[in-house]
Symmetry: C2
């Protein structure tokens, strides 16, 4: 798999779940990158994790979509102790605004 | 509404649908930006359209999520003649790779 392809998640056939996390970072992001990297590593080991896609632009707007087997595994990841501390820091320090949407993927297609 | 907030979609309470479009642009994007802007304008007038969030980074990776009332309005937008021509150009010219996922949003939360 080349580097480009590795930024698109290779998910199984639907149904599965997506967590769509849309966010606007604050200007002061001290500590954010380290914690974000740690959360990616930690999520990848969580039960039910299927993949992850993330893009940030130079205005500090980001969309991260993670994919999960079902809503129970999303709930378990949400309640992971280290992740809960990261969520708290996110609200207190790093995010000016964000939305989280839990969605059931019904259909999917890829190109090429 | 300030400029930051306007980049996050202001959607109604669930349920509604999301189209998660993850993509990697080709190096030659001639004509892409004009068509992409036109599609944003056109989608906003389509029946069932609820909103739109989009981020691209400097590696040419993008995630665009559009929100819709139901799967029927997504299907109608997919089959819009001008959009179909844009999809064809996307496959032929602009995208090295992409994924499209149709997902039913079951839960959503916002901060602040």
């Amino acid at each position: 798999m080349n580097q480009v392809a590795s930024r698109l998640a290779n998910t199984p056939p639907p149904p599965y779940y997506a967590v769509i996390f849309t966010n606007q970072l604050c200007d002061d992001c001290d500590g954010y990158a380290t914690t974000a990297d740690r959360m990616v590593q930690l999520a990848a080991k969580a039960p039910g994790y299927l993949g992850y896609e993330s893009v940030h632009d130079d205005e500090g707007v980001g969309i991260t979509v993670s994919y999960w087997q079902n809503s129970e595994t999303i709930e378990a990841w949400k309640n992971n102790a280290e992740h809960m501390e990261a969520q708290r820091l996110g609200r207190d320090k790093w995010y000016r605004a964000f939305s989280v949407r839990i969605a059931k993927v019904e259909r999917a297609s890829q190109f090429p």
